[in-house]
C-alpha cells in the first residue's frame, strides 16, 4: 500500500510559468516537441519508471480516462527517464495508446527544466502539469512517489482552463 517514508518532494514549476519547450523521442524514429501542440491544452505526466507497480496503475487509469481528457481537446503525454525501447514494450504490455516520451539523453533534462528531477534516484518525481493552449503552465502537482495521484486534479484543471476562457 501507501509508502509513507518521508521524502522531500520537489516544488514543480508553478502556474503562470512558461512551459519549457522540449523535443523527445516517442518511438525509435519519431520525436515529439511541446511546441507542436500550441493551440491545445497538454497534460504532462512525469513518472519515475516504466514497469513499477504504481506507475502502471496510474498510466492504466489515464488510458481509461483518456476520452474525458480528449473532450477538453487535451493531449496527454507520459514522460520518464526510460529509453524508447522500454517505453514501447511497456506501452504494448499495458495497452497504453498515448505517447510515452523518453527523457533519456541527456538523462532527465526535461524533468530538470520542470523542477521535478530527483537527482539522488536518477528518476523524475511523480508530477503532473496542465499546460494551456498558449504554452503556459496552469496547474502543477507533485505526488508522493509511491502514491498514484489519480485523474481528478487533471480534470479539474482542464475545466478551469475552459472557465477562464483563455483560448
Amino acid at each position: 500500500m501507501t509508502n509513507t517514508k518521508v521524502h522531500h518532494r520537489a516544488t514543480p514549476l508553478p502556474p503562470g510559468a512558461e512551459a519549457p519547450d522540449f523535443e523527445l523521442p516517442s518511438t525509435p524514429d519519431q520525436k515529439v516537441s511541446l511546441a507542436e501542440f500550441r493551440g491545445q491544452p497538454v497534460i504532462l505526466a512525469f513518472y519515475p519508471e516504466d514497469w513499477s507497480p504504481v506507475c502502471s496503475d496510474q498510466m492504466a487509469l489515464y488510458q481509461e480516462v483518456l476520452p474525458e481528457f480528449q473532450k477538453s481537446g487535451a493531449e496527454l503525454m507520459g514522460i520518464s527517464v526510460d529509453g524508447v525501447w522500454s517505453h514501447l514494450a511497456f506501452a504494448k504490455d499495458r495497452n497504453l495508446h498515448f505517447p510515452l516520451l523518453a527523457d533519456f539523453e541527456p538523462k532527465g533534462e526535461v524533468a530538470r527544466a520542470y523542477h521535478v528531477y530527483r537527482a539522488k534516484e536518477g528518476t523524475s518525481e511523480r508530477a503532473l502539469f496542465v499546460i494551456d493552449a498558449d504554452g503556459i503552465v496552469r496547474w502543477s502537482y507533485v505526488s508522493p512517489v509511491g502514491v498514484n495521484p489519480g485523474a481528478d486534479g487533471i480534470l479539474r484543471a482542464l475545466e478551469n482552463l475552459g472557465k477562464e476562457g483563455a483560448s
Binding site: Q63, E68, L96, S140, Y141, P149, G153
Partner: protein, 187 residues
C-alpha cells in the same frame, strides 16, 4: 507549496435509490468501495469486507460501485455489466459474490452460466448484455470514482472521505470504528 492540494472526497453522495447497498440507511458508518471484478487486489479485499460486515453488523452500511480498468483487465467491463444486468432482476449482490468467487472465469459463457445458476431470466440477461444496456450505469460509477480521486482498485471511502490506509481487516475495522465515534460526537 505552489501546487494545488485537495482532499479526496466522495463527489457523488450515496443514494438509497440508486446505489447497491447492504446495511441500514441510518447505520453509524458508511463504507463505499470502488472495485473491479477482475482486479486481484479487489479479490483479496472481498473476504475482508465480508469479515468486517460480519463483525460490525447493523452499524455498517456497505456500498459497491464499479470501477473497471479495462486497460489492465479485459473482462472487467463485461463483469461489471453482468452485475448491473443481474441488479435489474434484483440479484446484484448474488452476482457480485459469484464474480468475486470466480475471478478467473469471467468470459461471456461464464457470465451466462452464473445468470443461469442464479435463476435469472437468462434470455433477457443475454439480450441486455449483448446490447450493453447497463454500460451507462457502469460508466457513471466509473466517472464518479475518477472525480472522487479513485486512483486504483479497490479504493474505499469512509463516511465520504477516502481511506488512504491499508484495507487489511484490523486497520479497516479500526478506521470504521473511529468514524463512528467522530460522527457520534458531532450529533
Amino acid at each position: 507549496m505552489s501546487s494545488t492540494q485537495w482532499e479526496a472526497v466522495l463527489t457523488m453522495p450515496v443514494n438509497e435509490d440508486r446505489d447497491h447497498i447492504q446495511g441500514p440507511a441510518d447505520a453509524a458508518v458508511t463504507l463505499v468501495q470502488y472495485g473491479d471484478y477482475e482486479c486481484p487486489y479487489c479479490g483479496a479485499a472481498y473476504p475482508i469486507i465480508k469479515e468486517v460486515q460480519a463483525r460490525m453488523g447493523e452499524r455498517l452500511r456497505f456500498v459497491f460501485r464499479n470501477f473497471p480498468i479495462t486497460t489492465s483487465h479485459p473482462h472487467a467491463e463485461q463483469a461489471a455489466e453482468a452485475a448491473e444486468t443481474a441488479a435489474a432482476q434484483g440479484k446484484f449482490w448474488q452476482m457480485h459474490d459469484l464474480l468475486y468467487e470466480n475471478q478467473r472465469r469471467l468470459r461471456d459463457q461464464d457470465l451466462h452460466a452464473y445468470a443461469q445458476r442464479l435463476g435469472l431470466d437468462v434470455e433477457l440477461f443475454d439480450k441486455e448484455m449483448a446490447e450493453h444496456v447497463h454500460s451507462g450505469r457502469v460508466h457513471e460509477d466509473f466517472m464518479s470514482g475518477v472525480r472522487s480521486g479513485v486512483n486504483g482498485t479497490p479504493t474505499f471511502y469512509i463516511n465520504g472521505a477516502r481511506h488512504d490506509d491499508s484495507y487489511e481487516t484490523e486497520t479497516l475495522l479500526a478506521a470504521l470504528e473511529q468514524a463512528t465515534t467522530v460522527r457520534g460526537r458531532g450529533k
